[in-house]
Symmetry: C3
Subunit: 322 residues, 3 copies
């Protein structure tokens, strides 16, 4: 497996948060915080990445994540091309390889890759050569590193630190790349008190999420939580459980205002979006004073600017010495 | 209903031309005229909107209108993202709401919205918050305000003024947002002599278009007109009439060179596009000396620049005081 | 037929390489070579085309060619819009005409056109008016001029000159616009020794490719070749031959390392992409030391920059005198 890091320990690719040092993660979050601006003022901009070419390769439709990366890249002055390339739909790995070679040969230097198939971002990273880099924008159920970082930034903005927080994650954890990357981010930053709340069928395999407590009862899992992170439930996944419909799901695993009272009074409510209001979260909670859901979106652009800047400046510096 | 205007009477959103003052409309048209350039010279450009982010949200396919807004925004220096977001296809209004919240949280400040569903642009305008604005690029059969403005600009460029002109509009007026917005624009500018020419089934309801004369006979409606505006007829709409086919439609409601002679000798011929040549308009008329159809397209970019500049500069000014 | 040249002999449109002078082709290639940069350094950039608007109109899907033109235009500072306009899918030529008129009226000055239908780029060139220009990005089976130029540039970079080279082209030559444009480019530059290698059914008509030798036996066609250019074979075309499957195709017309030994020891291997590895070319040859396939892609961006700059600067100069 190709390392995500340059020889000097700085970030080359961002494929997963696993194995990244606390220093590196804290550095990215500090830089991201520097890109935040008060509401009603102009978004942060720079020309740091002028002359760099960023390509969005999204095999799964995701308007919001694609737009977030596109805006982040443009606000740093990079050129952005959106390519309708379906990497994993090619039956042979060799076709995917040729697609990557071709794009790299055109001078594309940053590949933002989203794919439903495990291993695709890593494969692209192994193929692009030393002068280019890969940022995962979501990989199968495994990894969504910028989501983990933006969640961490959101918690830090509200609670000052992540370590010491009790974090409840509720919903289809088994199939969630968000849950995996968020737990990795928070663990790296020192959090130890994780509560996974899910129907038994949507709980991850026993070997996964070591050290996290597991609850099928939502009230128990929420007790005293500082952070309540709700996950989107998909109909086809709910069908794997004994929960008959969305109303029943809401009754057992939906975040109502009443249920939120089990958490700490100053707990924050998060959701990676898009929400199913009335299914996993009540509308009044989503829009309520404890919700930081829209801030997560804003923080997402800032985090992607920080990551793009880190990998992009490394490419630009390397050019100088070529 | 959210007002389209800021407290100081300047434009915040542009959802409809209804209720806009003559001063405001004339101001936009004067600014648009300032963006026109002689043929063969470089298009007008500025950096007035540098740092502003404009998103095109087109639920209905419309390459020409989307391209017109995109070019207008880019020529003012704004960043443009094209988003494949189908607002009205979401069953629940709340999903649409979250989409708007999400895009606003990313720092998108101008939403250009086209939708087949009535009320969508207004809904977005009510949701985006004070620091963002919405421009309708076509709403159901109700409103297409930039089309009304570009039509007015086109008439002014050829006839110096709109008031005093006799304007014949021919075709499927019942389902036409173009007809509605154009009559609003021209009325605001003082025009009083409107002739609606259509088969009875495609005539608007009696309460609509007050003060406009109605004709099922095209020759009568065209007599002495200064402006002849043809509308695109769609096959499925023609099926609601007793007109059996396109040839029969052309015989009764198509603009031939012979029929155009009923209008004033210096009458101008307009069409919002895309044309069905040989159906609602003869090719030799579309390309003839009285046609200003291509100028309408050019004027469309200028009008959209004027509107984008107006709302965009208000956002940028508001930032300065935030 | 509209000329591709301005009255002073400079390039107005690029629809075909047929009829272009050696001087003009060599000038474009020299300029393209000037846009190449050593690996690991920043791509060439300029603001030469700032203020110019380039539209990509691709009726056939082609991510790689579209991206190559888009990057080339952006690296020259032009504005680029990607339009989902299907020119040839309009049944009536007049609809296509109106689409072109509309886009030209918006101030689009460079039309990059790809279409499966013969005559479309020429039709657009005849319609856009003197202030705009058309670059073919692939026309039916007839012409792909920038591919011919990039192939020539690639040969020149490796063999210093094209004249004197023995060039073998292998595969479905009958339906290949690449083969036609490449032979035109190389002929213009003085090459005389062409070997067309194909099954009889995929050989072009007798009147085409005058002066080229024809081989159904690949070993014979490759003997002593300086350049081996492989073409992509499509399943539906192979069905027109007596070759039963891809394995049998590879056995007869695939480029294996063993078969490559028939060519000169320093022969270069080319492929326009996308490759069918294991069908028309062995993976070890595609990735081997004689392969220049990735360089072709890099040279493609440079060639498109040179062509865009040539036609774009002519437009900008003409504006100055308008």
């Amino acid at each position: 497996m190709t390392s995500q890091l340059h020889a000097d320990g700085t970030l080359h690719h961002l494929l997963t948060l696993e194995g990244l040092s606390r220093d590196l993660v804290e550095g990215l979050l500090a830089r991201a915080a520097g890109f935040l601006r008060p509401a009603g003022t102009a978004p942060a901009r720079s020309d740091a990445l002028a002359g760099l070419t960023v390509a969005n390769l999204f095999s799964e439709p995701s308007t919001r994540t694609r737009a977030s990366f596109e805006l982040a890249a443009k606000r740093l002055g990079a050129d952005v091309v959106n390519l309708d390339v379906h990497l994993s739909s090619r039956v042979k790995g060799e076709s995917m390889l040729d697609t990557v070679y071709t794009l790299a040969a055109m001078g594309i230097e940053v590949f933002v890759v989203r794919d439903a198939e495990a291993g695709v971002p890593q494969f692209v990273a192994e193929s692009v050569g030393p002068g280019a880099c890969v940022l995962s924008a979501g990989e199968a159920h495994l990894s969504h590193p910028t989501q983990g970082l933006l969640d961490a930034l959101t918690v830090i903005r509200h609670r000052r630190r992540v370590d010491g927080c009790a974090i409840a994650i509720v919903g289809d954890i088994r199939h969630s790349r968000v849950a995996r990357s968020t737990v990795q981010a928070f663990s790296t930053l020192g959090a130890r008190d994780f509560r996974l709340v899910a129907p038994a069928e949507l709980m991850p395999d026993p070997g996964e999420f070591p050290g996290c407590q597991r609850f099928t009862d939502m009230d128990a899992g929420l007790a005293g939580a500082d952070v309540v992170m709700m996950l989107r439930i998909q109909k086809e996944r709910m069908a794997e459980t004994d929960i008959p419909d969305f109303d029943a799901y809401f009754a057992r695993y939906g975040l109502s205002a009443r249920r939120l009272k089990r958490a700490r009074p100053d707990a924050i409510v998060m959701h990676p979006g898009p929400m199913n209001r009335g299914v996993e979260i009540a509308a009044d909670v989503a829009d309520g004073p404890q919700s930081v859901i829209r801030e997560q979106v804003t923080n997402g652009v800032a985090v992607r600017m920080a990551v793009l800047e880190a990998v992009g400046l490394a490419i630009i510096r390397a050019r100088g010495t070529a």
